[in-house]
């Protein structure tokens, strides 16, 4: 009976694990300069972008994957992956360029309706499957305010100057191994441009879906928020259940000008692998925001429940005086998942302020690490950082680790760090049980309570989803 139950939970757990059977154009496996040229050609890119890709590729070729993470990263055979998969072939061939109903159905099933009349109120979506953006909703409505929200491929065509100015300005291709790889082969992602003194009237979001087998997803997102503007951006992701690992190496760059504010929220639910640790997405991501203007604000909120391996440090460069950055994170690992995630706060401007709230939850045989750097430069007088890193352990076979780094070069800066590690106590479970609440539900309640400070930062609809996700990710871990 208990085995039955555990089995049921394990099977039910990842409800986005289906595959879509769709005609997909996939280029041959392997990576070399010709492949880079081919991707660029397929996307009809200008020469400067091809040059950018080639430079990145040549740099990447001579580099080695980083090994400093608290991760057992499997050897990745980069020649055994296809770098471009286009599920919109049918659409290209059809006369009226209508979206393949199969694709519409897929996103419907994921809870992301692509028909605007059915859409969640107040949310525009860019839906990306494999290497291609399928559709961006409410584009016209946003254009009325001169807001640009489209796929990055489209932005390269229609707004080349903007893309050229900012692409690689926050995360240069030499930044790290996976950033170089992404810069060479990136396919699609979203582009957001908020002009001066404009408050984006709806939430913008991108939904990433990996579908095709043996392909990597290398999305690239660029957000530029001009002076006095505001945008809230959400990112969600899922993938089918497959036995082999799938590679996902993305870059997100954000530029925030004077008095502007960007909120970036992620609910990452890539396929985590099965309960034996087989399969799952390798999520190797570089996300960084440049707070270029004075009094600019950027907050990263992430709920990380998926992926076999997560290697991700959404960071902020606080360049403008009086700029403020926040990082709120809940990272859950279960079974054999491994997460090494955290942030970097680089204080350059005067009176800059950053806050880090990280909540790690480990269960099963998983390993969960917080890794963070707080750096205060010589000029950053009066800057402040507050970091709080909590770990919650469920069971006795999992690990929680904290690696906080500090580099303070200014005597007028204040840097605080707090860390706790706790377990769900038997007493708490009995107390809940005695009130009629089952152990499964009690764990969900307690974990959500633990993560509340972070979940509260998410936009409403996301917060509800995230709460459910936390409970589901941890089902079967106690008792």
């Amino acid at each position: 009976m208990p085995n039955e139950f555990v089995k049921k939970v394990a099977e039910e757990k990842y409800k986005f694990g289906f595959t879509t059977d769709i005609q997909t154009e996939i280029i041959d496996k392997g990576l070399n300069e010709d492949v880079v040229r081919l991707i660029s050609q397929k996307k009809g890119e200008p020469d400067w972008l091809l040059e950018f890709r080639l430079k990145a590729f040549r740099y990447w070729k001579d580099q080695k994957a980083p090994s400093w993470g608290h991760l057992r990263l499997p050897e990745i055979d980069y020649q055994d992956i296809s770098y471009y998969a286009d599920p919109t072939r049918k659409q290209q061939q059809s006369e009226n360029k209508e979206i393949d109903p199969e694709l519409m159905k897929t996103f419907d099933k994921l809870g992301i309706p692509l028909e605007e009349r059915m859409a969640l109120s107040g949310m525009a979506v860019d839906a990306v499957m494999d290497s291609v953006s399928v559709k961006t909703t409410f584009k016209e409505k946003l254009a009325e305010k001169n807001i640009i929200f489209c796929s990055i491929s489209e932005a390269v065509k229609n707004h080349p100057d903007l893309v050229r100015k900012h692409l690689g300005s926050v995360v240069p291709y030499r930044d790290n191994y996976f950033a170089a790889l992404n810069s060479a082969v990136f396919s699609d992602g979203s582009f957001v441009y908020i002009p001066e003194n404009t408050r984006c009237p709806m939430e913008l979001s991108t939904y990433f879906r990996i579908n095709a087998r043996n392909t990597g997803q290398f999305e690239r997102t660029l957000i530029v928020c001009e002076s006095g503007s505001y945008v809230s951006y959400l990112e969600g992701c899922t993938a089918p259940m497959r036995d082999e690992n799938q590679l996902h190496a993305a870059i997100v760059e954000i530029v925030v000008m004077d008095n502007a504010e960007v909120k970036y929220s992620t609910v990452q639910n890539w396929y985590p692998g099965d309960s034996e640790g087989k399969g799952g997405v390798l999520n190797l991501v570089t996300k960084r925001g440049l707070l270029k203007g004075h009094h600019s604000k950027l907050s990263w909120t992430q709920v990380e429940t998926g992926s076999a391996i997560t290697w991700k440090y959404p960071s902020c460069v606080l360049q403008g005086d009086d700029s403020q950055a926040e990082f709120y994170s809940v990272a859950v690992t279960n079974n054999y998942q491994q997460a090494d995630t955290g942030t970097k706060m680089i204080h350059l401007g005067k009176r800059t302020k950053s806050t880090i709230i990280s909540k790690g939850i480990s269960a099963g045989k998983s390993e969960n690490s917080y890794r963070g750097l707080v750096k205060v430069g010589k000029q950053a007088d009066g800057s402040r950082n507050y970091s709080s890193c909590d770990s919650l352990l469920l069971g006795s076979e999992c690990g929680a680790h904290t690696f906080p780094y500090m580099d303070v070069q200014n005597n007028n800066a204040t840097v605080e760090h707090e860390a706790t590690t706790s377990k769900i106590s038997e007493d708490q479970l009995l107390y809940c049980n005695q009130r009629g609440i089952s152990t499964e539900e009690a764990v969900g309640l307690i974990v959500n309570g633990y993560a509340k400070d972070v979940l509260n930062k998410l936009p409403m609809e996301f917060a509800v989803e995230a709460q459910k996700l936390l409970s589901v990710s941890l089902e079967g871990t106690v008792g």
């Binding site: 007493d427 009130r435 609440i437 309640l445 959500n448």
Partner: protein, 258 residues
């Protein structure tokens, strides 16, 4: 009806209960007294199903069900409620959310749909008044930052919300001042239905001044050694337990029904 027969229980391999027999019929209130370490709290933990206690012998029947075969949450949903001696904190979980989960778990057990949010809120408001509980406490996390007295009051508030048929008050009077004790006891009396039965574990007569027991038991060294009426509690208040330990006792076998 709760029927305990020859109950033996261990914690960490040490035998604490050494053959307890106790029958509590619907509507009866039994007080359980005894020295520290006699096994009073162990008995209550075994009844609610604390997994750290191991039952080695004996049985507990509750309304015809084999209680020991039921999970702790099933026992709760079947109508058993314990007011904890030391209520537990659950950071970040509001009392309202906690109770909503509890109330709906019970409804699910009874085959009912979850309660509507508006009905739930008005129920909370009404029950809160019964125990004079501050509305601010209801919005706070479960027991977090509550004073000792507030925690005990909160236990009775939860009892009000869950409407159990069998209650265990485990030293609910400890840590309460006279006024709080009166409010808690009066709350319990108001909540009590004719069929509600209870075990009241206490060291003092003062709670029994408000809640009159039908029967008083003395538990010493893992066994019930004396049973009597309300006057027994008064005798203990005056003379302590030594006279019972001493042996010059009249075991009242009549009321130790099996």
């Amino acid at each position: 009806m709760l029927e305990i027969k020859n109950l033996h229980a261990n914690v960490n391999g040490k035998e604490i209960l050494k053959g307890v027999d106790l029958t509590i019929r619907d509507g009866e209130i039994h007080a359980l007294m005894g020295t520290n370490g006699a096994g009073k709290s162990t008995l209550s933990k075994v009844i609610v199903g604390d997994p750290s206690y191991e039952v080695t012998e004996g049985s507990i029947m509750f309304d015809g069900h084999d209680l020991l075969a039921m999970k702790p949450e099933e026992r709760a949903n079947a109508g058993i409620f314990m007011s904890f001696q030391q209520p537990i904190e659950i950071p970040g979980v509001s009392m309202a959310n906690f109770l909503k989960a509890a109330v709906n778990a019970k409804r699910k057990y009874q085959g009912l749909d979850p309660m509507k949010a508006s009905d739930f809120l008005s129920m909370m408001r009404e029950k809160r008044k019964l125990v004079s509980m501050d509305s601010k406490l209801v919005n706070r996390s479960v027991n977090e930052g509550f004073s000792g007295g507030e925690r005990k009051r909160n236990e009775i508030f939860q009892m009000a919300m869950l409407e159990p048929t069998f209650c265990i008050l485990d030293e609910t009077d400890s840590g309460l001042d006279v006024d709080a004790l009166r409010i808690v006891a009066e709350g319990f009396n108001k909540l009590r239905k004719p069929e509600t039965s209870a075990i009241i574990i206490t060291h003092y007569q003062r709670l029994l001044d408000y809640i009159t027991p039908d029967t008083v038991h003395v538990l010493l060294d893992g066994r019930i050694v004396k049973t009597g009426g309300p006057e027994l509690a008064k005798q203990i208040e005056d003379n302590g337990f030594d006279w019972i330990k001493g042996g010059s006792i009249n075991y009242d076998f009549e009321s130790v029904t099996c």
